[in-house]
Structure formats: structure tokens, C-alpha cells
Amino acid sequence: MKMKKQIHIILIFFIFLFACKKEINEDTPLTKETGKIKFKFTHLIDGIPLQKDSIMYVNAAGNSYGVFDVMYFVSDVTLYKSDGSIKLINEWKDINYVDVDIPSTLTWDVYDEIPAGEYDSITFVFGIPTEKNKSFMFVNYPEVNMMWPDVLGGGYHYMMINGKWKDSSGIANNFDFHLGIGQLYHSNATDCIDSIYAFVQNYFTVSLPGSSFTLLKSETKEIEIVMNIESWFKTPHNFDFNYWGANIMQLQPAMQVVKENGYDVFTIGKINKEYK
């Protein structure tokens, strides 16, 4: 009798044990030899956080200027491990949009699982590589507003910095400091798109000095990428608005200058473990 009672209790126990549906978290990896990265984008002028909408800066060419909008793409972010392997950020998105007026774009929580270990350096493409820069690939706000007209090469602006500068008469002028696909014209008539005979891809790879870091298992690393805006206007070339004018989308020589100045615009800021 006692034995029968014990069997009943055991059987009832197993009925309860197996009756309810368990949720299986299929996303939980069984082992986690990876961590995560969060990029933070900050924007400085002369070492100080950007203050928009006011003509309060002076560039290397002596132009007084102010910055009103800053938007750009970075793509193909690549992490170089000390063992020689590389990790290309591309599992959810490989092209990231940054806009100083949209706070959510100033942080990029990278989707990819990053192998833990020692990393020597980080590089990225400023702009969008040729094979990826296709018209209509972005249809939603805000990226869609970066469209670069098909007649000028298509795809998207790599960068827009819009603002105002004071000319040699002291009068404020608007400028659109835009970088994207350039055009080569048969003649000096840059207003004649019929004379375009070639397009120039002005994107370039940025190497970030001092970007080594160690990523531990299950850690999230915050890596600050700093755009030093004044550097767009200097080194190796002083960019003079009085010379180049307000618009450069159809001035490949000007965009070439911008590109060459761009290699040292970005620096690494803080690299921290994220504390949640």
C-alpha cells in the first residue's frame, strides 16, 4: 500500500514536470567566446564639442565659418586582430549613417558577435564603396535624403557639412561642403552634364591611430570615433571657401582636396568597457 502511494506521487511529479511547455531560448549560445562593440561618434572643432548654427570658427585658410549640419556615412568597418585575422562588420549592416541632429545615430550598437581577443587597429571606409553605392538602396528617412543625383554619378552623398562662411567682404555666405562621386568634364563647363565623360569614386579608407583594444568574452566595448571637423579644411591643403566657393559637388578638384584632407580627420577617443 505504502509502495503504491509512493509510485503515485512519483508519477504525478513527472506529469507536472513534462506537462508545461518550456520556452527554449534558441538565441542563447551555448558558449560565448565573443563580445560586442558599440561605436560612439563625437564631433569636435579645435578640440571642443561642435557648437552649431553660429559663425564662430576660423579655418586654416582664415575663413570665419560656422557649421549647421553634419551628416555622413562610414562603411566596411574592419577590426584587425593581433593574430592576423580580421573582422569585417557586416552581419546586420555594413553602412552606418551619422547625423549630428539625430542623437540616435551617434551611437552604433554593432550587431555582429566580435571574437574576443587583442585587436591592433580599426579602419573604415569614409563614404560608400563603389559596388555598394547604388541609387535607391536607401528609401527611408534619414538616409534617403543623402541621395546623390544619377546624372552626377548616383548613389548617395558620402558627407554633407552645411554652414556659412564670411567672405573677404565680411558678408556671410552659405556653403554646402559635400563629398560624393565626382565627375570629369570634357571642358571647363561643369554646368554641362552632357560633357561628363567619367565618374570619380572619392571614398577613402581611414586608419585610426591608437585604436588597439582588448575585447573580453561577453564584454561590450565602447569605442569613441571622433571627427575633428577643422581637419577637413587643412592638411595637406588649406581649403579656402573664397577660392572654391559654396558648392563642390560638381568640382572634382575641390572634392579631391577634401578627400586628401580627410585621411586624418578621424581619431580615436575613449575606449571603455560598457557598464550596464
Binding site: 506529469i15 548654427d53 527611408n140 541621395m147 543625383p149 552659405n174 554646368d191 559637388m249
Partner: protein
């Protein structure tokens, strides 16, 4: 004794079966038919549809009736509906500029067309006041910062119906054909103003234009003329430089810009009034250029009667102020300085943005008979 044991196990088993957590299902009181917007090629895939007002066939049809029903204003001696001013022939604005409400008071700005609004996530009205995610959005008693608010505002605003929502809903409630339509769309024959707004908003979200000559050109169905192609090039280059504000497939970025047409800014309903950012003085939404041939007069105050006047303005008429948007890079030259042929070609291109199928679509038109 054995039978008691078996029955005990069965009872325990059934108890376990029933006690475990089940997935909760939501019981809808009615079964409205979901409506899926067909997104035209190249158009945005992010649709501005609030989660508490999903699109349904029944909701849209109800909304179409209410949109055109003059009894919506709830007044015994006056008929006025959304459709009184938002005329399909003029891309759902009135074609004359300022809206005139039941009181004879004109609207503070000229009307904006109701076209492709479901793709707009950057705020409605000339100053973007109605926008859910904006830190500047606050209209007490409103419905969430979307098109539903505009329906509600249309009823009470002094320059529109100048009525109140209680009168509006009471009037609709007493029209026998409507309560069953509300039942089908929202599950109750009780007419609420919230559901009136929702229905009309659903209808407005269906007003999509994507079949202009230019759209057909993009799809490879037609060719543009040489003049139209020239105009397309001027539009999309620094020649006329329209695309920075009026670019994308929507022919608007839906952004807000001071386009250098004034030097004094005393409009209490510009973008600055919403954001309090001094650089937004004199800034207004860049409206879509789709159907632009139908939607004059132009600018927020209707100062330009024709497209020719608009093109002349951007060519030679810009006025310097510290608030002019940086996109106005030809400001100090007075404008983009187009010659007459360039102006004509630009206009020819703009005329390719007219979508005659949109303005004559029976799905958007007034019902043959109202209840």
C-alpha cells in the same frame, strides 16, 4: 480501488494540461479586413501608421464617406467636410490657396495637398507641429501626433469647421447608415470622435500618387522629351539645385527650410514657433512637388500664383537674411540665375510630376450617394 487510481491520474493530467501557461490570444469584437498598402517601387517602406489605428478595408471606406460628408461639421444650417476644401482635382487641396472655413476666416497658411502623407515621418503642417516623436509636440486632447490630429483639428479650428467634436459625433450617430459602418470598422455602433478621426486618417493614408509621367519614365514605360530631360538635369544638379530640399522619390525631404523669400519674420506659425530654435525663423516644410501644377498658389502664404513666378524667384529673387538655410548657396547672387530656356525646361520637368490617375481615382473620390 484500481478505478479510483486511474480516475485520479486522469484528473491530475487534465489539471496539468489546463493549468500550464497558454499563449494569450486577443479576441477582437469584430473582424475588420486588414488592408495592406502596396508600396510603389522606390518609395519608403517605413509607413507612418500608428499602432492603435491599423488600416482596414472597413475603416478606409468609412473614412472616405466621412471625408466627404458635409454633416461632419455637426451644424444644422451648414455643411462642411474635409472634402469641401480638399478637392481631388487639386491633389486634395483647394487650388485657390487659403482654406476658408464656416466662419469665413481664412486658414493661416495656404493649404497643403493630401498626397503620399503615409510616407511622411517628419511632421505635418507647414511648421511640423503635428509629430508624435517630436519633443515639441503637445496639443492637449489630441490623438497622438499624426493625421488623426488633423481630422480633429479640422472640426474645431475657427478657420475650418469651427465646431466641436460632440456635435460632430452626435450628428454622425443619428445618421442610420453610419453606426453599422462603425461597427464593422471598430466593433461598436457607438460613434466616437476618436473613431471618426481614425477612419478619416485611414482613408487619407491611402492617397498615394506614384503614376506621373516621371514615375513611368523611371519604370521604363515612357521617355521624357529632351526639354524634360534637361529640366530633370537642372533639378538634380547645382544648376537649379532643387533636389537638396525637394529630392527623393517623394519630391520632398519633408524637412523645414528658410528659402530666402523674406527678411522680416513675424509669422507666429513658422518652424521657429514649434522648435524655438532661432535658426528656424522663417522656415517651413518643403512641400512635395508631385502634382505641383495643380497646387498653386505657392509658398506658405500663396505669394506666387504660377510656377513661372516660383522659378523666377529661385532664379533671381532670393533675399538675404542670416536665417536663410545653408542649402540656399546662391543666396548672395540672388539666385541660381537660370536663362529663359533653362527655366522653360525646368518647368517642363516639373509638369511631368502630374499624376492624372491620382486625381481621378474612384477609390479616392466622393461616394456617389452619402448615407
Amino acid at each position: 480501488m484500481k478505478k479510483v487510481g486511474i480516475y485520479s491520474y486522469l484528473c491530475v493530467f487534465l489539471i496539468c494540461l489546463c493549468s500550464c501557461k497558454k499563449e494569450k490570444t486577443i479576441d477582437f469584437p469584430t473582424d475588420p479586413t486588414p488592408y495592406t498598402i502596396v508600396i510603389p517601387k522606390f518609395f519608403p517602406t517605413n509607413l507612418n501608421i500608428p499602432s492603435d489605428n491599423p488600416m482596414t478595408v472597413e475603416g478606409i471606406e468609412l473614412g472616405r464617406y466621412l471625408f466627404y460628408d458635409g454633416r461632419l461639421c455637426g451644424k444644422k444650417d451648414t455643411l462642411m467636410s474635409c472634402g469641401t476644401c480638399h478637392n481631388p482635382s487639386f491633389s486634395f487641396e483647394n487650388g485657390t490657396g487659403f482654406g476658408i472655413g464656416t466662419t469665413g476666416i481664412p486658414s493661416p497658411h495656404v493649404m497643403l495637398p493630401l498626397i503620399n502623407l503615409v510616407f511622411n515621418t517628419q511632421g505635418y503642417l507647414w511648421n511640423g507641429k503635428v509629430e508624435k516623436n517630436s519633443p515639441f509636440y503637445s496639443i492637449p486632447g489630441a490623438y497622438g501626433g499624426n493625421l488623426e490630429d488633423l481630422c480633429w483639428m479640422g472640426v474645431y479650428a475657427p478657420h475650418e469647421m469651427n465646431s466641436d467634436t460632440n456635435k460632430a459625433k452626435a450628428t454622425i450617430q443619428n445618421i442610420p447608415m453610419y453606426p453599422p459602418m462603425f461597427k464593422k470598422a471598430f466593433g461598436s455602433e457607438e460613434v466616437t470622435f476618436k473613431n471618426i478621426s481614425k477612419a478619416i486618417a485611414q482613408f487619407i493614408r491611402t492617397l498615394i500618387s506614384s503614376n506621373s509621367k516621371f514615375d513611368k519614365y523611371l519604370r521604363g514605360e515612357v521617355n521624357l522629351t529632351i526639354d524634360e530631360m534637361n529640366g530633370y538635369a537642372y533639378f538634380n544638379t547645382e544648376e537649379a539645385d532643387c533636389f537638396h530640399c525637394h529630392g527623393t522619390i517623394l519630391f520632398t525631404t519633408n524637412g523645414y527650410y528658410n528659402n530666402a523669400k523674406d527678411t522680416i519674420f513675424n509669422d507666429t506659425r513658422d518652424r521657429y514657433a514649434v522648435t524655438l530654435n532661432p535658426m528656424d525663423r522663417g522656415a517651413y516644410k518643403a512641400p512635395t512637388l508631385r502634382n505641383i501644377a495643380l497646387t498653386g498658389p505657392y509658398m506658405h502664404d500663396g505669394r506666387f500664383k504660377t510656377l513661372d513666378e516660383v522659378i523666377d524667384f529661385y532664379s533671381e529673387g532670393l533675399m538675404w537674411s542670416a536665417y536663410a538655410d545653408p542649402f540656399m548657396t546662391y543666396l548672395n547672387d540672388g539666385g541660381v540665375q537660370l536663362n529663359p530656356k533653362q527655366k522653360a525646361d525646368l518647368k517642363a520637368f516639373l509638369l511631368t510630376l502630374t499624376d492624372s490617375s491620382f486625381i481621378s481615382n474612384p477609390a479616392f473620390s466622393k461616394p456617389i450617394t452619402l448615407p
